[in-house]
């Protein structure tokens, strides 16, 4: 035996009641579950008082780029995530011709807020094919990766500039089908597409130009392999989301494929959105369609500075355009009273100051502004006889655009509604977006939040049910056959944690991106050890190990 985890509370992923016993691992596989294992092993871990669970699977990530320099997908791994699914939202790093790299980088930067440093010199582009990308990934993997192929890049490969101009003709459709087939043969777990995203010029990404006939043709290829179709629907509009549910159901039934859409948010602004969408999903599921809505555990919090354009301003075009200006032009525009008046009228129409009233100052660089940290813009505005939007700009300018602000609880933040939603049998817990939006919020720690908030505090789930949701259910939904359970013969992905402590840590700024780039992260609380394919990848005692036992996994 290579590893024995002794005396743990085994929560095996089935959802059945937990039990106490040992877990044995040999050659990267689970070989023994429960009871007392006689003899000894090369390594033993005492898990008394701890939960021993299958490694968690994160089905919606954008680690495509980060994995090239950080095969541990930090800090996801330390939260117990042993398998990640990148390539969501129509974007993947392959298949991609060298001439299209700038366009892909532009889309990634716009949609996922990846900074320049993530692409410039942080890795070497050695591939064009999906197979080549996986070969580059495999060199450093410490987590398992089940990558999607992106519809936008497939379209770009086949159609070039016409990918954002017109429908595909019959030859192009056939070429896209063949290219997708190659990706699936190489190891792609499915295809992702997007109905909402825009590129760096705020123009629709290539997948949005595809007619339904094209998606149907690609879904037919997915059907040859029984693989997943992931989409980003117009989640802010219920009727359109319902139409997307019906489209996905049609494709699922016709081609016998699983589909998933993300995100589905609960929102006080549209209180019946979730109920209507879930009702439609339930009807379609009852017909045999597989249409899985992904729901995140955490509330929507967005941090921002005026250094970069934040998605918080995506629906106020004047602000968004201003924030996208080159730095000096941006400062000049914000300092221009006439321009600022226009922005204020857009942000606070008719004197309605609610939009920015509750935003808090998160950090400043000017010593004399230190007293503003933690206060709301509304509070500061009242003190200054101004308005929240004006004081936000004033503080930004005074701090050379480096003041940061926090807009907390923008939605999906009513636990009495979100808890039962997460526990719904037809909800797929996911949509973390891990590895994306790195300068707006931390996308790590959603699983810790699930256990601390919805299992321990609110008791919307049993521990066993919550573990099942993010392990066995995820594996089954995605067709990952050898993970998600503590069962002899399956891959030895294991997360050991203290159920009384597990949580997400506080959100903090880290400067661990290439060229000391900043991102928001959360570290784990209560995780004891994370084992990937039988190797100890992270422990609370020793941190990240040198193990590179991650694999590319597929259905």
């Amino acid at each position: 035996m290579d590893l024995i985890i002794r005396n743990g509370r085994l929560v095996d992923g089935t959802g059945l009641p937990s039990f106490f016993g040992d877990l044995g691992i040999r050659d990267g596989r689970i070989v023994h579950v429960g009871g007392r294992i006689p003899g000894s092993a090369t390594r033993e871990i005492d898990a008394a008082g701890r939960v021993v669970a299958p490694g968690f699977i994160d089905p919606h990530t954008h680690f495509d780029v980060q994995l090239l320099w950080d095969g541990q997908a930090r800090p996801a791994l330390e939260h117990g995530i042993t398998t990640v699914i990148p390539g969501n939202c129509s974007l993947s790093l392959a298949p991609l011709k060298a001439e299209h790299r700038p366009r892909l980088v532009g889309m990634f930067q716009q949609i996922e807020e990846m900074p320049d440093a993530a692409f410039d010199g942080a890795f070497e582009w050695t591939w064009e094919s999906f197979d080549g990308y996986l070969e580059a990934l495999r060199k450093k993997l410490a987590v398992n990766v089940a990558p999607l192929a992106g519809h936008s890049v497939i379209r770009l490969w086949v159609m070039g500039d016409a990918a954002t101009e017109r429908a595909a003709d019959a030859d192009e459709l056939a070429a896209m089908q063949q290219l997708l087939r190659q990706c699936l043969e190489a190891g792609a777990i499915g295809l992702s597409t997007s109905f909402v995203d825009v590129d760096e010029n705020l123009q629709p990404v290539p997948s949005r130009y595809a007619h339904f006939e094209e998606l149907d043709a690609l879904a037919a290829v997915l059907g040859e392999y029984g693989r997943m179709l992931q989409v980003v629907p117009e989640f802010y509009a219920t009727d359109i989301t319902l139409a997307r549910v019906d489209q996905l159901a049609e494709l699922s039934l016709k081609h016998q494929i699983p589909t998933t859409f993300s995100p589905l948010f609960d929102s006080a602004a549209v209180p019946d959105n979730v109920a209507r969408v879930l009702a439609r999903v339930s009807e379609q599921m009852a017909r045999g369609a597989r249409v899985w809505p992904q729901v995140q555990t955490r509330p929507i919090d967005i941090s921002f500075t005026f250094e970069v354009a934040s998605l918080l301003f995506a629906f106020t075009p004047g602000w968004y355009r201003t924030m996208r200006l080159p730095r000096e032009q941006k400062i000049a525009a914000l300092a221009n009273p006439e321009h600022l008046d226009g922005l204020i009228n857009e942000a606070e129409p008719d004197g309605n100051i609610e939009r920015f009233d509750t935003i808090r100052v998160r950090a400043v660089i000017r010593r004399e502004d230190a007293g503003l940290v933690g206060r709301t813009l509304g509070d500061i505005a009242a003190e200054r006889g101004s308005t929240p939007a004006r004081v936000m700009v004033a503080i930004s300018l005074a701090n050379d655009l480096q003041a940061s602000f926090l807009a907390a609880n923008l939605g999906h933040n009513d636990p009495a509604r979100v808890g039962p939603l997460l526990a719904h049998p037809m909800v797929h817990i996911g949509a973390s977006d891990a590895g994306a939006h790195i300068q707006s919020f931390s996308t790590y720690g959603d699983t810790g939040y699930l256990f601390s908030h919805f299992v321990r505090d609110r008791q919307d789930f049993t521990l066993e049910a919550a573990v099942k949701k993010i392990t066995a259910d995820t594996a089954r939904i995605w067709g990952i056959s050898d993970r998600g359970l503590l069962q002899p013969g399956l891959a030895a992905d294991v997360t050991i944690f203290d159920p009384a402590i597990i949580d997400r840590g506080d959100e903090e700024a880290a400067f661990d991106m290439p060229e000391q780039g900043m991102r928001y992260v959360r570290h784990a609380r209560g995780i004891e050890a994370v084992i990937v394919n039988g190797e100890l990848a992270w422990s609370a005692e020793a941190g990240y190990s040198s193990a590179h036992s991650g694999q590319v996994v597929n259905a």
């Binding site: 017109r166 429908a167 339904f212 117009e234 509009a237 997307r244 019906d246 019946d272 379609q284």
Partner: protein, 74 residues
Amino acid sequence: MTLSRARSFTVAHPGEDWPDIARRALSGLETDAALEALKSWNLHLFLRKPGGRILGSDVIFTEAPLVHSQPTDG
């Protein structure tokens, strides 16, 4: 299992413009009236820039929003 009634929609076929869709999806109406109806039901497409541009993946509603019952608390 029979699906409950949902708001009807269509998608554009390659090469179709708004008059084509109006004639196909609302064949019982005069084209101008059908176009006006489609415009009023698809503001999500007409409010974006350039307004009314149809992308292949767009959902195009062919009737007004349905009146649906509100879920009750508890």
